[in-house]
């Protein structure tokens, strides 16, 4: 029994950053804006949270700063790709490079280190089994992260805003004719994706009580993989996040035994995504206007 609880706890711990980033990415992608940027949003969120927590001593200020960091990068992406109609794939890659560069630069400026920040106030307590479960239950970001997907699913499917997001992502010209402010909806969607993915980074940094160089380590791309594997449906994307996290947990717990090499477990999300976009499982149709420059 305790093993099952430990397994679930570890899975949730790994899944939270994915859930945050995927819930944000789903909104932006449904509004027609490509989310290659999730990795960069997360990294900025993590760094801003560390700065905030370090200088204030309060993890909550860290959360606010992380939200601000994610929002700032979301807005940069929005301005470049919506206002200036830049190619979203190119700006996405630029945003990710920029996030790595800026966090390294300011890590050096603020903490005089090229690898990590000092320990800051956070939410996580390191430990295994019961201790881990307790720490998880006491971490407000865990609850927020678990709520992210249901809230986004409700937002996308049951609110006027969600209807507009979907309209703008499927057929912006038609939406425009009906009086939907296409650009404003997209701005809002991308800003929201910045905040949510940023929170994923905040969770990482505050869980580990520090920022380390490039600490997101591809998690933004795993979240993107989950979105695509979930065929752009929030709930399915959330399930994909949990699935990917469970595979990682399994790999960690089986490490002692001679089993599958860890590199193969790392590949699972990516292989599944390629299988999904190939349409081998079910027809995979992205939002029709995804990545289109003109609206």
């Amino acid at each position: 029994m305790s093993e099952i609880i430990a397994f679930v706890a570890q899975t949730i711990r790994i899944a939270i950053p994915y859930l945050f980033a995927a819930s944000g990415g789903v909104i932006a992608e449904r509004a027609g804006v490509v989310s290659l940027t999730l990795e960069g949003f997360m990294l900025t969120g993590a760094f801003a949270a560390t700065l905030g927590s370090y200088y204030s001593g309060s993890p909550w200020i860290g959360v606010l700063c992380g939200i601000g960091g994610g929002l700032l990068f979301g807005l940069i992406h929005a301005v470049a790709s919506i206002r200036y109609r830049a190619d979203q794939i190119v700006t996405g890659i630029a945003i990710n490079l920029l996030a790595v560069g800026l966090t390294r630069f300011f890590l050096l400026m603020a903490f005089d280190s090229s690898s990590n920040s000092p320990r800051v106030a956070g939410f996580g307590v390191t430990g295994d089994g019961g201790a881990l479960t307790g720490a998880l239950l006491r971490n407000p970001l865990v609850w927020l992260g678990l709520l992210g997907i249901p809230v986004v699913a409700w937002l996308v499917h049951y609110t006027p805003f969600g209807l507009r997001v979907r309209a703008v992502g499927e057929h912006p010209a038609a939406a425009e004719t009906l009086g939907v402010p296409v650009r404003r909806v997209r701005y809002f969607a991308v800003a929201l994706s910045g905040i949510l993915a940023g929170l994923g980074g905040v969770y990482l940094a505050l869980d580990q009580h520090q920022f380390t160089d490039s600490m997101t380590a591809g998690r933004g791309f795993i979240a993107l993989a989950a979105i695509i594997f979930g065929r752009w449906e929030p709930v399915r994307a959330g399930i994909a996040c949990l699935l990917f996290a469970a595979a990682e947990t399994l790999q960690i717990q089986l490490q002692g035994m001679q089993g599958i090499p860890s590199q193969f477990v790392q590949m699972i999300p990516y292989v599944l995504t390629i299988v999904a976009v190939g349409g081998f499982v079910a027809r995979s149709t992205p939002p029709a206007a995804l990545g289109k420059v003109d609206a």
Binding site: V90, L98, G101, G218, F221, T273, G279, F280
Partner: protein, 355 residues
């Protein structure tokens, strides 16, 4: 008409690098002032540390070699209307295959046999990795951006596993040294280059640029490739098998990125090491963008980014070298966002003047 056409073409070609340089200077100034240094001194140091001495220049040549290959890879694919962001994995696969080929060949194999075999292995491995998104797109309609991103992670994980479990020298992350097929360094020919990693891969990369230019603009295959990129439906109607062109373009693109791997393995270290690609695959996108997908532009842009990257090391005493990483991101963003805007402005002014 022809004179206006020529002037416009020059403007088109110069605009991206100029905008890039300008924006990089502004952001660079801000960062330098933030650190409390004088921009003038930093830029002087950056120039003297790259083009100002033989070692620095050699390092620029070395870094430009890899970027030239990955830049050509992205540019060629973009000409076919395809976005290859799998350069990172293709580059690593190419370097790995070249190193393994050099490892399995018997020691003492003459260079004239071994070098082409190693280069061929790099081309084949890169092309194989490139073929996956090409086939996935042509046969199953899978978006190449998604497939190439995911493939990067898969290829790198696979190579890491092979090296970690079968091929590494104990206590390291690299393969044993090659027994045959290594290229000579430029310092063997021109002694002032002493210590720099520049090697004859540079000449191979430049030859690749010439071949790509010839192929794109002088051959039927290149014409079909560009037609498929400009208007796939029209090309299909005109008798071009667009699906086949996509696959072909992706194979060549992957092979070009794979070729970049020889710079490190055949030319410099003589082994494959985990993580040697270090972002050069992604920077290839910036190189292609600034070079406007033209082989000559790509060569110039490769030198620009190589200078920036080596310049970062040169100024490290004054400003953290991470500044350069920021500038790389800024440059891409500026070229992607500002160039169309500036072009619209220029066109607006010109339209106004014509009236």
């Amino acid at each position: 008409m022809t004179t206006i056409g020529a002037r416009q073409r020059v403007e088109e070609a110069l605009l991206p690098p100029l905008v890039a340089l300008l924006v990089a200077l502004v952001v660079g100034d801000i960062l330098i002032l933030l650190v409390g240094q004088s921009p003038g001194a930093v830029y002087r140091l950056m120039l003297s540390g790259t083009w100002g001495n033989w070692y620095g220049f050699g390092q620029v040549l070395y870094k430009a070699t890899t970027l030239l290959c990955t830049g050509l890879a992205v540019a060629l694919a973009l000409r076919a209307g395809l976005f290859n962001i799998g350069g990172e994995g293709q580059l690593a696969a190419g370097g790995f295959a070249a190193a393994v080929m050099g490892l399995v060949l018997p020691a003492g194999t003459p260079g004239i046999v071994a070098i082409p075999l190693c280069i061929g292995a790099a081309l084949a491995a890169g092309g194989l990795v490139g073929a996956v998104p090409g086939v996935m797109k042509a046969r199953f309609g899978a978006h190449e951006v998604i497939v190439t991103i995911m493939l990067n992670f898969i290829v790198l994980a696979l190579l890491n596993w092979i090296v970690a479990s079968h091929l590494h020298v104990p206590e390291t992350l690299h393969t044993p040294a090659m027994r045959a097929g290594t290229l000579s360094r430029l310092m063997d020919w021109i002694s002032p280059f002493h210590g720099s990693a520049a090697n004859t891969s540079l000449l191979i990369a430049i030859a690749a640029a010439v071949v790509v230019g010839w192929m794109l603009f002088r051959t039927r295959a290149g014409y079909e490739l560009r037609a498929a990129g400009l208007q796939p439906d029209a090309a299909e109607y005109g008798g071009v098998r667009v699906g086949r062109v996509w696959i072909k373009a992706f194979v060549i693109s992957g092979a070009l990125a794979g070729l970049g791997g020889i710079n490190y393995t055949l030319g410099y270290k003589h082994y494959y090491e985990e993580g040697f690609s270090g972002g050069a695959g992604f920077l290839g996108i910036a190189v292609a963008l600034v070079g406007r997908n033209h082989p000559l532009g790509v060569v110039i842009a490769a030198f620009l980014f190589a200078t920036l990257s080596q310049g970062g090391l040169a100024i490290h005493a004054l400003v953290p070298k991470q500044m350069v990483e920021v500038l790389q991101g800024v440059v891409i963003l500026a070229v992607a966002a500002a160039v169309p805007e500036v072009r619209r402005l220029v066109q607006g002014v010109r339209a106004g003047a014509a009236r």
